[in-house]
Symmetry: C2
Subunit: 187 residues, 2 copies
């Protein structure tokens, strides 16, 4: 069975949400990060950088939540697109979520400048579509939605100027798979 390694409060929840959406059976291997279990030799043998989440799918080990999402989409989502352009749009939103939005709003020194630049256009777009790529839920929503859903949980950032973002967070966090991953974290 696919194993997902993560901490109780880690980006493993993002991967877990997507595994729940896909209905892929998995075992959650909970590491006690406060006790430094991610720095133990057994874990470093799987990921020398000692970051979570990682997955182990058979003999294959993969790190980076965004890469894991894309791998799972490609392997387990029956509606994964075949056109390179459509695949690239998924790459784009996963990279945007993890490399642009995350550092932009969660790094305190960039937040004030970046939040309107990033969240304004996102809000406009999300007011016209229920999902970031239009009418279908995709892995792009897992990457983007989980990063956006962290904002009200972790930051004092007024989202009221971005009603499309607020509606999107509400809509996604009501999904049973999201709730299961977030409430069952570590179980």
């Amino acid at each position: 069975m696919l194993k997902l390694y993560g901490g109780a409060r880690s980006r493993a929840s993002i991967v877990q949400w997507y595994l729940e959406e896909l209905g892929v059976p998995y075992e959650f291997v909970l590491l006690d990060m406060q006790a430094g279990e991610h720095r133990n030799p057994a874990f470093l043998a799987l990921n020398p950088i000692g970051k979570v989440p990682i997955i182990q799918d058979g003999d294959f080990v993969l790190s980076e939540s965004g890469a894991i999402l894309l791998y799972l989409a490609q392997k387990y989502d029956p509606s994964y697109p075949s056109a390179p352009e459509q695949q690239a749009e998924l790459y784009q939103w996963v990279l945007f979520a993890n490399a642009t939005l995350g550092p932009g709003v969660f790094v305190e020194t960039s937040r004030e400048k970046e939040a309107p630049v990033l969240l304004g256009p996102l809000s406009d777009r999300l007011q016209h579509h229920p999902y970031i790529l239009g009418t279908s839920f995709t892995v792009a929503d897992v990457a983007l939605g989980s990063m956006l859903a962290y904002i009200p949980l972790m930051l004092k950032l007024d989202l009221s100027p971005y009603p499309g973002v607020v509606a999107y967070i509400t809509h996604l966090t009501e999904r049973p798979a999201y709730k299961k991953a977030m409430s069952g974290r570590g179980k």
Copy 2:
């Protein structure tokens, strides 16, 4: 012809390096970022978030340097792997470069803690292989190598504890395609 939009000092250089490696003809559309050309309506119509780089390949517009690299690899690299696991390793290193390494070492508040965590294992790995995935140059080296090569250019961070990283930077930045992209930036 494929168009690459970027500023004189922007991540467009990363994409330009890879286009040079692939031998894909392209036009570099230089935006005067200091004059705010990336916030002009013409550019915002292509990318509402107003970030560079973007590419326009026929009618297809794509943003996020990491996503652009992966798209170009898939479309134009004849040795792009067909196995999902090998593709996922490319995703992993692109995500690592842009979402973990970049924010880890270029955000001042995290640098001291993250630099050894990230650069130590990378250095060990790179002392045993010329490229991050072994004996072949791949898109993963473009993503990882360009981010690493920014360190001595932009930061006061002593790389001497990481000889594998130093050798890798030296090795990659001697490639003609790298030199052409960096020296011809904006031409």
